[in-house]
């Protein structure tokens, strides 16, 4: 056991602290090449990460950079700098600590490159940028440790892949580098540890005492939850009561629009004028910072928020977390709750508020999963190749490179350990020549091979443009919103939403109802309008799909003979479903057919998550169109797809036949808007589309054109191009989620229960009130038109002209 040096012992004693067991373990294993700590918030996690560095640096002998700290958020880097200063100053340690983010000044950045501090706090993007400089070997010479904070969050996204690629570079520049990851509770620590370590190095995992289990329950209200909808308006009085009973309450929502609507309604009911704020990713930065500051200062009793509050911000003294709507994902819920209540060893308190009847079932399932520590998560695919392309370009910015060395280096990154040489060569070819079937760029290749076979930029000036476009975070196209006659932005809305507005339309932003006036210099100008009910704010945030594990748990609940754990109204509803039709089973697909309001309906219970059920709706209606069943439209939720049309479906089997479905999927996919959106993301990361140009131009004329044109051109002339292959793979996993349809089909293996009824069933009822209905443009519409024309002819007393 490594003892703390006397200076450190004194400092701990002075503060009345004793070293936590996991801090001691981190110290004992400080020499390990890779180490991961899993600890709850408030457990001295940061100090555990930095302690070995502080001790190693305390003798003042180390020259240059010793420890890099990487976190997903700039704000976190600044926070940590402040928190680290305390022990360093109080012990009088000769350690220079600086941060480096997008906000750091140009002169400061230049100085850091010439004379790096001992400890540098930064983000994955700023680190990638640092590795792109020619003097990277000088900057990172002698680097001993890298601490990756919130690695569980980074590991879920391409930012993590970019970071670990940059780490492989650093390891070459500084072979003694040891890696440390700090993580919240996760379902598969070994997978994250394997990503952190240099492949095939092992990575030890240290588990801190997770503290007592959180106290989570479901809010039971007098009023029954509605059949459908996400607003949870019924629960407002009960939630307000809870706010009054606690010091600070965080009220989480799954989407920004829901947060806005809830906040609006909360204010209308807030007769005591409790200070309540709102915080989500579409609000202007100034406004968010104001709320954060008020929260830290303890001035707010409640904050209505979305996932944007999840990371990096010091929550202060939050004693209650409310989750409105089913959590959809148990891991996220547990991590969120774990962050409330900073008192170590005191249980955090959380309340789930189901927004509708079905969500009661989902909430109960999530509660049981949380109690059983059964966290969910889908295994990550192999390292994305668009990020790899960007990494190749970044490497070229730093100077000529040898392709074999680079390939070997990339293979040390866990996520890319299975990367084939052919796949690597594809990416290199894309970076060098564009990778087109028509080899058009002989003269203007981006990368050239020198006489000794190494690769370098054809035009060194291109490095500036590549550096300007480093990063993997996708901004959706958003427009700023500001009040008329006032230049301060209120927030942002998606461009697609802004396009649907006509002057006079009202929507919610930042908790207030505003009226759309006009679009000026790419800014949405609005005026205040409190008297009208708002048109819904459809800026999205993410609509999460239910995790596979949670869906399975719900299906298991359906299998029970009765449901003592459910509120009476919900248990009764399930009993009715069992009596009139049947409850869906895990290894079978239930299909219900019934007439309603003159249309034939079928409801397919596939439990594959919202995105997949939506895709299923597209594919099934396409097949119905071919079978002349005249589908009219469909709507999808996490658990079912409801389709209506003019003809009954006598046999649902052909609609769910795997081979048919795969073939239809191919055709449908290529023309799909989701593909174009996914393409834009991948092409931007891979360096085919530049987000930032050296001189930002005033008007978009000629400078930019839609990436859809590039997608269409490639699909037409070069369908096997690398970017299209990447796009397909990502769409399959992401928004289209065909993977879960495949999973559903293999799980049920053709076992379809078709129940034919004469009326709407209890379980399908909520589907009728669900928003987001999609009309099918096809023969069904034409037939309606003909029928209507015939009806008018008859009414006029003529049968033909």
């Amino acid at each position: 056991m490594s003892a703390l040096p006397p200076k450190f012992q004194d400092w701990f004693a002075l503060r009345g602290w004793s070293i936590h067991p996991h801090q001691q373990q981190m110290l004992d294993q400080a020499d390990a090449p890779a180490l991961m700590l899993i600890a709850p918030t408030g457990g001295g996690k940061t100090l555990a990460g930095f302690l070995p560095s502080l001790i190693e640096l305390s003798d003042g002998q180390h020259k240059g950079l010793h420890t890099l700290y990487v976190s997903p958020l700039k704000a976190l880097a600044a926070d940590i700098k402040r928190n680290l200063r305390t022990p360093v100053d109080e012990m009088g340690l000769p350690i220079r600590i600086e941060d480096r983010t997008g906000d750091t000044s140009y002169t400061q950045k230049r100085r850091q490159r010439a004379d790096p501090p001992h400890i540098l706090l930064t983000t994955p993007e700023s680190l990638a940028l640092l590795t792109s400089y020619e003097d990277a070997p000088h900057i990172f010479k002698g680097l001993q440790r890298i601490i990756v904070d919130e690695i569980h969050a980074l590991a879920e996204s391409k930012r993590g892949d970019q970071l670990l690629l940059a780490l492989s570079r650093l390891q070459t520049l500084a072979p003694d580098l040891r890696r440390v990851g700090l993580s919240a509770t996760v379902e598969d620590p070994d997978a994250i540890a394997a990503e952190l370590a240099r492949h095939p190095d092992p990575c030890a995992i240290i588990n801190a005492d997770p503290g007592p289990d959180p106290d989570i329950s479901m809010l039971i209200t007098q009023e029954k939850p509605p059949w459908t909808g996400g607003g949870a308006k019924y629960a407002i009085p009960a939630v307000l009561d809870e706010v009054k009973k606690h010091k600070t309450t965080l009220i989480f929502h799954n989407t920004r629009a829901q947060a806005e609507i809830f906040f609006h309604n909360l204010w209308l009911a807030n007769t005591d004028d409790l200070p309540i704020g709102i915080h989500h990713g579409s609000l202007a930065r100034e406004q968010r910072e104001k709320v954060e500051a008020a929260m830290v200062a303890g001035h707010l009793r409640a904050i209505v928020c979305t996932g944007s509050l999840d990371l990096g911000i010091d929550w202060g003294d939050v004693d209650l977390v409310v989750q409105v709507g089913a959590p959809k994902n148990v891991k996220r819920l547990v991590q969120r709750i774990g962050r409330a209540n900073h008192r170590y060893n005191a249980p955090s308190k959380a309340l789930l508020v189901p927004a509708n009847r079905f969500e009661v079932v989902e909430c109960v399932a999530a509660l049981e999963a949380a109690k059983a520590h059964d966290l969910d998560g889908d295994p990550k695919g192999p390292g994305p190749r668009d990020v790899l392309c960007q990494h190749i370009l970044i490497t070229a910015c730093a100077g000529p490179f040898d392709e074999d060395h680079l390939f070997q280096e990339i293979k040390t990154v866990g996520a890319y350990r299975t990367l084939s040489r052919a796949a690597f060569d594809d990416c290199l070819d894309f970076c060098a020549t564009g990778g087109y079937a028509l080899r058009a760029y002989d003269k203007w290749k981006r990368l050239l091979q020198t006489a000794d076979g190494r690769w370098q930029l054809r035009d060194p000036r291109a490095a500036q443009r590549i550096r300007m476009n480093i990063g993997t975070i996708q901004d959706t196209d958003t427009l700023k919103v500001r009040m008329k006659g006032n230049f301060k932005p209120l927030g942002e809305v998606e461009e697609a939403f802004a396009a649907t507005l006509t002057p006079g339309d009202t929507f919610l932003i930042g908790g207030q109802v505003v009226r759309y006036e006009n679009l000026k210099d790419m800014t949405v100008v609005v005026s205040r309008r409190a008297d009208k009910t708002p048109k819904i704010a459809t800026f999205m945030g993410t609509k999460f799909a239910n995790s596979t594990q949670l869906s399975q748990r719900i299906l298991r609940m359906f299998d029970q003979p009765d449901w003592p754990e459910l509120p009476a109204h919900t248990a009764e509803w399930l009993s009715l479903q069992r009596q009139f039709s049947k409850l869906p089973e895990a290894n079978r697909i239930l299909v219900e057919s019934f007439p309603h309001e003159g249309r034939h309906h079928i409801c397919i219970y596939g439990f594959a998550g919202r995105n997949a059920m939506q895709t299923l709706g597209m594919l099934a209606t396409q097949r119905m169109e071919e079978l002349n069943l005249h589908p009219m439209g469909f709507v999808a939720t996490d658990y079912a797809t409801l389709i209506w049309g003019l003809d009954p479906v006598d046999d649902p089997a052909p609609l769910l036949q795997p081979d048919n479905m795969r073939a239809d999927f191919e055709t449908w996919l290529s023309g799909n808007a989701v593909m174009k959106k996914t393409f834009r993301g991948a092409a931007t990361i891979a360096g085919l589309i530049e987000r930032n140009l050296p001189q930002a131009r005033k008007s978009g004329r000629q400078a930019t054109f839609s990436s859809d044109i590039l997608y269409d051109t490639l699909a037409k002339y070069d369908p096997d191009h690398l970017m299209l292959r990447i796009t397909r793979e990502e769409a399959m996993r992401g928004l289209v989620d065909f993977g879960r349809i495949e999973e559903m089909l293999s799980r049920t293996a053709g076992r379809i229960d078709h129940v034919i009824l004469d009326r709407v069933t209890p379980l399908s009822l909520p589907m009728f009130l669900e928003q987001g209905r999609i009309a099918v443009a096809g023969a069904g519409q034409d037939r309606i038109l003909e029928e209507e024309a015939a009806r008018l002819m008859n009414a006029a007393g003529v049968s033909s002209l």
């Binding site: 564009g434 087109y436 004329r701 000629q702 400078a703 051109t713 002339y717 191009h721």
Partner: protein, 214 residues
């Protein structure tokens, strides 16, 4: 018919859904802002290599319009090439294709800000030209009865923005015909101010659809 026919300063004009303007009484087809060689120029300048198929795509569209309208004269209304070097570096097969399109008809290259000098290619070079009552030049002036391009106008209806002709009784501003061209929205002041009072936009796409410009 998917085209839109209208009278402009006494001349019958047909706006084609592709973004070309057909003047049947003069047996003339007019296209603007082809920006041929754009991907080559971007690669040369920035290193970014866009799919190199835009010349092919643009010529294919032009070939189809020529086949339908069988014009005796084709006017390319400036910015036909993304720059003069791009014109000089057109691939052999594309040059042959262009020559084939030119065969048997008058071909006028009006110069634009992207291609201000003469190019080493068949056809006649002009700064501007007149045809009957109409004047053709790249950038709009105060002249009336003028057909020009340059601005790449686009117009938005029902949430969809499409390249569009903008016209009133004094001028027509043509949409960009090239495959890789962005656009300027019709309510941008420097574009909207060229039109006094009422103007219409003719959207391109599957069908040429006229709409009033607010």
């Amino acid at each position: 018919m998917n085209a839109y026919t209208f009278d402009f300063c006494g001349t019958r004009c047909i706006a084609l859904p592709s973004g070309a303007l057909h003047l049947p009484d003069h047996n003339t087809l007019c296209v603007s802002d082809l920006h041929l060689g754009k991907s080559e120029r971007i690669a040369r300048r920035s290193g970014v290599m866009l799919p190199p198929y835009e010349v092919h795509e643009t010529l294919q569209k032009l070939e189809a319009d020529i086949a339908t309208t069988q014009p005796q004269q084709v006017i390319c209304l400036g910015d036909s090439f993304d720059d003069l070097d791009a014109a000089a570096s057109l691939k052999e097969d594309m040059l042959i294709w262009l020559t084939r399109l030119q065969a048997g008809r008058l071909w006028i290259w009006i110069e634009g800000n992207h291609d201000p000098g003469p190019i080493d290619m068949g056809g006649t070079h002009k700064a501007a030209m007149t045809l009957g009552t109409l004047t053709f030049r790249h950038i709009a002036t105060a002249t009336t009865a003028e057909v020009s391009g340059h601005y790449h106008p686009k117009h938005r209806v029902a949430g969809r923005s499409r390249p569009a002709f903008l016209c009133d009784h004094q001028r027509i501003i043509m949409p960009a015909y090239g495959a890789y061209t962005g656009g300027l929205t019709s309510n941008a002041p420097n574009l909207r101010n060229l039109f006094k009072g009422r103007a219409i936009a003719i959207l391109t796409g599957h069908k040429a659809i006229p709409v009033p410009v607010p």
